[in-house]
């Protein structure tokens, strides 16, 4: 009875997991092995599996039946059972859903029922350089997957300024300081990175809820906003404001304000949001109270 090495690929929806998986399947050190794939993609029934290059691997789609982690357990366990029983597989690649808790997936693989059959070699999380800061405060698995990973790969770096990639690296490094971070490269580079990762057992560390280090606060006011004070407030947070977006009713008229890291963009007001102030701000290493207080101080009546 041989132990099957397991590679887990996680990351938010649209982060490029399927692209990465296809790269790995073409890369000789994976392609030369008899592979089993478990594809578990939320709400995109079969799409990811169809996108995958045709190969000689055994493929198991476990998103049939439900979108909910707990309800897919039976399917995941069934797939693992079949792979273990097959006896000929030399490696298992799992592409996890973007809303999956990685600890659940690791739990399935390490279930006592499969004792000795599987060994997690690497858990890799892809981080989307374009959308990370938008989704992290709303979808809690985004950071949970980063925390649980053995290595992080930043994708879509060509779509944002280099400074954004650098800042993103700082943020995700703060969330998981124990693991290497790479920017996605060619198939060989990515496979090298994954092959050299060492799996960390951090089940104990995750027993408690992690701090909410990226938060979103929605602000509304019918009072006019002091423009200078508002921009100063943004500046005072420096890199701790990741994004801000919405209408701001300044004394000289309402504008649509959007920030991405330190870049501030002013546009005409969004009519759907009305004429009063209504915006959402995403902060890092700050608190809801600090953000609220800082912006409420820019209301003219304050």
């Amino acid at each position: 009875m041989t132990t099957i090495p397991v590679y887990i690929l996680t990351g938010c929806l649209g982060a490029g997991k399927t692209t990465m998986l296809n790269q790995l399947l073409r890369e000789p050190r994976f392609a030369s092995r008899k592979l089993a794939l478990i594809i578990n993609e939320f709400g995109k029934m079969g799409v990811d599996a169809k996108l995958l290059d045709r190969g000689s691997y055994n493929k198991y789609e476990v998103n049939k039946g439900s979108l909910f982690c707990i309800c897919t357990q039976a399917d995941v366990l069934k797939a693992l059972d079949e792979i273990a029983a097959d006896g000929s597989m030399e490696a298992l690649l799992i592409e996890a859903t973007g809303v999956a808790e990685t600890r659940d997936i690791e739990g399935f693989v390490l279930e006592k029922h499969f004792a000795g059959r599987f060994e997690i070699k690497a858990n890799v999380c892809l981080v989307d350089a374009v959308n990370y800061t938008k989704t992290a405060p709303f979808l809690k698995t985004v950071n949970a997957q980063i925390r649980q990973a053995d290595g992080l790969i930043i994708t879509k770096s060509d779509l944002v300024p280099a400074s954004d990639v650098e800042q993103l690296g700082i943020i995700i490094s703060a969330i998981n300081p124990h693991v290497p971070i790479a920017v996605a490269g060619g198939a060989q580079e990515n496979a090298d990175f994954i092959e050299h990762l060492r799996h960390r057992d951090i089940s104990g560390e995750l027993a408690e809820s992690p701090p909410a280090d990226i938060i979103a606060v929605s602000m509304q006011s019918s009072s006019p906003v002091n423009k200078a004070a508002f921009l100063k407030a943004i500046g005072s947070f420096g890199q701790r404001i990741l994004r801000l977006k919405g209408n701001v009713a300044f004394a000289d008229g309402t504008e649509f304000v959007e920030t991405v890291f330190d870049r501030v963009i002013h546009k005409p007001a969004c009519e759907e949001l009305g004429t009063s102030t209504a915006f959402t701000v995403i902060g890092w290493q700050t608190s809801k109270e600090e953000l609220t207080k800082a912006f409420e101080n820019t209301w003219c009546s304050a």
């Binding site: 709400g43 995109k44 029934m45 039946g65 309800c71 959308n131 938008k134 709303f138 929605s218 959402t280």
Partner: protein, 542 residues
């Protein structure tokens, strides 16, 4: 008290006679009647048949009509992919594929499979007047994800007004579905919103609270009970879920039940959960299932707890596991046993009982919780106590109270699983049944007879006559035959004529005819004995 009454009282956090039991039998009912999920979830007839079978097998206090969170989504234009052993999955999100939110209309009770679900609810209500019927409604956030897909997480930042608009629509759908189920006779409306486990309390408050609260207020105004279901890692949201004012919050094994209990009860909200769906109910044994159920009801306590799995039972869940839970719930003595056996330490330490019951006397062991505290145990002990003297000292009896660890080990070693039980010479003979006097006497007598026969077989003897054929040997043989006849003995007689063989008995040829008597005793059969035991036998011979 009927199951329906029990559920109602538990929902009001009033004391109940026993923890109510609601197995969420969804697609599993299809398995019970040999149908695929695809067949089952499309037919009110099959749902009625499947649930009737589930009621027969599991004796529940409450049952869901169906457990399929894609019913509303399908009626609103989501494409589904069907499977044999799991509920369907949404594979196309209309709002992500060009449909405008303004074009979506709250479906009527006749739309798509909603009509079938409501028809099934009416039939179950009529057929099971004493069981609480749960109508399961897709929660607004989960329905919003079905309609828009995961873009919703980006839109929460990019276009929160749109997300709020969408949530209001999904709330309207939930209000309508709740009304349909209540009108069909459902006692409980469960708002099932598992995808809220993906967001934190701030986002929950921003996007979910208002709609969920409206739905629960509406259910209350219509005189029905409400439950808020969530599964997954949603511990962070239990407080804000309670703030929506449901009558009950139901969770799966990802959230500690004691945490949910404390959060709910301080707000006078009942709570449900949290049997382990896969590792125990699907993959575990009956004993695992019973242990898990006991752990849940012990944590849940006497007030406000509904025993349930955290989600739809897997299609292939072994019925015996669920029946074992019913048994442990309905039988307080069975609960006592499982509690006592529930530690792995005791499981690992057992006695070697291979040679038990080979003593001269017949041993009657009565395994009890405690005959002073458990009525059936007392009656069983009394029955044995009265009968034993009739055997004039041949029968010895003893009670093993499993509240003591050594008794528990003894019970486990004898493979006893029910209390009270009578074992005669280590063999389980009467289980949870007080035998009538004659039956008990007969069972003990049977064992005495067996032992007597065994003794006869064990005590075999042989007479060896050493020496070649001669007049003296003939005379000796005839006298031995006569003695055997007079005694009725069945000893074997063997003639040994070979000189070497005669010498091996320590007899010289000149001393023949000679007689050697050997008495045989069966020491073991079918076992490879330890050297220490064999050494003791040899000592007896020397």
């Amino acid at each position: 008290m009927t199951g329906r009454d029990r559920i109602r009282k538990a929902f009001r956090c009033e004391a109940v006679d026993v923890t109510p039991w609601v197995p969420f039998v969804g697609c599993h009912a299809g398995a019970l009647i040999g149908k695929t999920t695809t067949e089952y979830l499309k037919s009110a007839d099959l749902i009625e048949q499947g649930m009737a079978r589930a009621v027969q097998l599991y004796d529940p206090d409450g049952i869901p009509v169906i457990f399929d969170l894609q019913v509303e989504a399908e009626a609103l234009g989501c494409n589904l992919v069907w499977a044999d052993q799991t509920p369907p999955a949404v594979c196309g999100h209309p709002l992500a594929n060009g449909t405008k939110l303004e074009d979506l209309k709250v479906p009527s009770s006749r739309k798509a499979r909603i009509a079938m679900a409501i028809e099934a609810a009416k039939r179950l209500r009529k057929r099971f007047p004493d069981i609480a019927i749960y109508g399961l409604v897709t929660g607004p956030f989960t329905l919003a994800l079905h309609l828009l897909g995961t873009d919703i997480f980006m839109k929460m930042f990019d276009d929160s007004a749109y997300v709020n608009h969408l949530m209001r629509f999904c709330t309207d759908v939930g209000l309508a579905m709740s009304r349909y189920y209540i009108e069909a006779g459902c006692d409980v409306i469960a708002l099932v919103d598992p995808m809220t486990s993906q967001i934190g309390p701030d986002q929950f408050t921003q996007f979910v609270t208002a709609g969920a609260t409206r739905i629960f207020d509406s259910i209350r105004a219509q005189g029905a009970l409400s439950s808020f279901f969530v599964c997954g890692h949603a511990q962070q949201n239990i407080g804000v879920m309670c703030d929506c004012r449901p009558d009950n919050v139901s969770v799966d094994e990802n959230i500690p039940l004691d945490f949910v209990r404390d959060e709910c009860l301080k707000r006078n909200i009942s709570f449900g959960g949290n049997l382990q769906l896969t590792t125990v109910l699907l993959l575990g044994t009956e004993f695992d299932s019973q242990k898990n159920a006991i752990a849940c009801i012990d944590v849940g306590g006497a007030r406000g707890h509904i025993l349930a799995p955290g989600c739809d039972l897997p299609y292939s869940t072994p019925p015996l596991n669920l029946q074992a839970i019913t048994k442990v719930l309905r039988d307080e003595y069975q609960r006592g046993i499982i509690r006592a056996m529930a530690t792995s330490e005791e499981k690992q330490y057992t006695l070697d009982m291979a040679e038990y019951g080979h003593a001269d006397k017949v041993i009657v062991d009565i395994i009890t919780l405690d005959s002073e505290a458990c009525a059936p145990c007392q009656y069983m002990v009394d029955a044995v106590r009265k009968v034993a003297p009739e055997f004039d000292g041949i029968v010895e009896w003893r009670e093993h109270k499993i509240k003591y660890r050594e008794s528990l080990v003894f019970m486990t070693s004898l493979m006893v699983r029910n209390i009270p039980t009578i074992c005669i010479d280590g063999k389980i003979t009467f289980v949870s049944r007080i035998p009538p006097k004659n039956e008990l006497i007969e069972a003990i007598q049977k064992r005495i007879n067996e032992k007597f026969l065994m003794r006869i077989r064990q005590k075999k003897a042989t007479v060896y006559i050493l020496g070649k054929d001669s007049e003296k040997r003939k005379l000796l043989r005839s006298r031995i035959d006569q003695a055997r006849q007079e005694l009725g003995s069945d000893v074997d007689i063997i003639l040994v004529e070979d000189d070497n063989a005669i010498q091996s008995y320590g007899v010289h040829a000149s001393q023949t005819p000679a007689v050697v008597i050997a008495k045989h005793q069966l020491k073991s059969a079918g076992n490879v004995m330890e050297t220490a035991a064999i050494r003791e036998w040899l000592k007896d011979l020397s």
